[in-house]
């Protein structure tokens, strides 16, 4: 039982990280980026190129990946968001799906179809207590999620730029009218969102291996987690992620492993029926 909890929480932490990146972009420009999973895959492969192909220290590989992902985020914004800004939201969403397919195929060309592993930045024997095994990498995943959530909260609430981002999210046009550098704010959101996905990729690759198609399923789970938590709510995404990780793990163990992927969508539908705005969704009103 204890082992299932640990493994479920580790899996849920990955889902939560994907969701945090997704929500950062959504909260700023009200667009769901369905290529978030593919950005995760790209982060994993950039890390592998640095740490495995070029044999750089893992810490340096992480640093390079984060910088590269920030640039990828900005390029993504320039290619996908800016040309379609002001058009119907579904057009931008469709373009993010298309971009995800492009990224997947690019990865296939550059890195090939075979799965590759990335060394974990933390080494050491697993911690054992009461028959439960917790690997150092799992502890690192929990710690990373906690630190990122805290930093994201502090950034959004305590820094000037974070407050500007929130203002942009609430009303983009008014934000521009009052002199907020809207484009720069959006660029930071895309860069930061891509970096979060990259970090999720770096965390996933040592335990789940990296392959070009890895992003599709993880990106979709990130979306499900965001919906369960209440779209736009950061703590909700984390709790939703952990909840989904536990549901999947316990469902696979005690109900059937055949329907593991289905649990995510069953839970999402059940949550939406009971709480249409998700577990922590805020009531919102729209002026008509």
């Amino acid at each position: 039982m204890g082992q299932l909890v640990v493994n479920g929480l580790a899996l849920g932490s990955i889902y939560a990280l994907v969701a945090l990146g997704l929500l950062l972009i959504f909260n700023t420009v009200q667009i769901v980026n369905f290529a978030q999973g593919q950005l995760l895959m790209l982060g994993a492969f950039i890390g592998i190129s640095c740490a495995v192909t070029h044999e750089l220290p893992v810490a340096m590989a992480w640093a390079i990946t984060m910088v590269a992902m920030a640039l990828v985020g900005i390029v993504f914004m320039v290619l996908v968001y800016f040309p379609l800004r002001g058009r119907p939201a579904f057009l931008v969403i469709l373009t993010t799906i298309a971009m995800g397919i492009v990224l997947e195929n690019l990865a296939l060309i550059v890195w090939g179809p075979l799965p590759v592993s990335l060394p974990s930045p933390v080494r050491g024997p697993p911690v054992r207590f009461a028959g439960v095994v917790v690997s150092m990498h799992q502890i690192f995943i929990f710690a990373t999620l906690a630190v990122i959530l805290l930093l994201q909260f502090l950034f959004l609430t305590k820094t000037r730029f974070g407050i500007l981002m929130q203002a942009t999210a609430q009303d983009l046009h008014t934000a521009r009218l009052v002199g907020i550098p809207v484009n720069r704010t959006i660029a930071v959101a895309f860069a930061f969102g891509a970096v979060l996905s990259g970090i999720a990729g770096l965390l996933v690759a040592p335990i789940f291996l990296a392959e070009p198609t890895m992003g599709g399923s993880l990106g979709l789970k990130g979306f499900v987690v965001s919906v369960i938590g209440g779209f736009g709510n950061l703590p909700g995404a984390v709790i939703g992620g952990l909840f989904l990780g536990l549901i999947e793990t316990f469902g696979a163990r005690y109900i059937s492993s055949n329907f593991r992927d289905a649990y995510a969508f069953i839970v999402m539908i059940a949550v939406l029926v009971a709480w249409p705005r998700g577990l922590f969704g805020e009531k919102s009103s729209e002026k008509v």
Binding site: Q3, L4, N7, L11, G112, P113, L114, P115, V116, S117, P126, R128, V133, S135, V204, I207, F208, L209, E211, T213, M214, G216, S217, L218, E248, T249, F250, G251, A252, R253, S257, N258, R260, D261
Partner: protein
Amino acid sequence: MNRILEGKPLVILGSMISPHVFAQTEVVTKSETPFLVGATNAKVTMQGSKWLFRTHVHDGQLAELIPEYLVKTLGKTRPGIMAVADDYGLGASKGIQAALAKLKVSPAAVASYAPSDKDMSAQLLEIKDKDADSLILFGRPADVTLVIKQMNDLGIKLTTIGNASIVAQTTLNNLSAAEADGGYAIGGMIPQTSTDAKIMDWSKRVQDKYKVPADNFTVSYYDTVYLLKSIIEKVGCDKPAIRDALAATKDWKGMLISYQADGQGDLAHTLGIYRNKGKTPELTGPIKESGY
């Protein structure tokens, strides 16, 4: 496939993916073109097509031989079964359960995982909790790697036996020596264990040219091309004659095994039993399907 058939090919080298072959067999059979495939679902050659031949060993053979070797040679009587939940894995899992039943052995647990699953710890814990003494593992290299890694992370130590994915180079590249060590595999012959200089050189050239290691499927399709060459040299470019010659294949020596056609169109009946010593697969011995 219709587009390929419009070109009126002499023979068609088909897919190693069973659903592809199931979908194409009817139209290829109607065209009366010899169709050579590597797809491993046992039912591929049970479709009643006289034009379909398979040059790779199939899951039906593995489903018989893996339980037999595990029970009779390794002395394990309470295996857990874990397979990828698709046409490939679930078909094999059913066959393995039937073969175990013939040996009067009940599996401790039967689990599966979706092809996109990355976390198999729940299934492994179920198998461990139900006191399995071994694990029969059937999947593709990427997911077999994850299962073996996660078993090691969870401290689950079970004799593991499965299909050739356990000794595939892709799997071994992503495992440590300690994780890979001791795993058994039964499957199509792989070139990695050969000490023949020609085969070693061929493997190296495949790796250099295609950037992927040669595996059991590479061997099978390579042999298929040379088998066809020898037949065409003998009977010429005549489809029915090629079909008849394929159906009459007997002791044709390929790179690692000899091929012999049975009544259904299966040509491969020799499999390899492998055991990983660290990250190096070693050939424990060839094993033949009963009757060959």
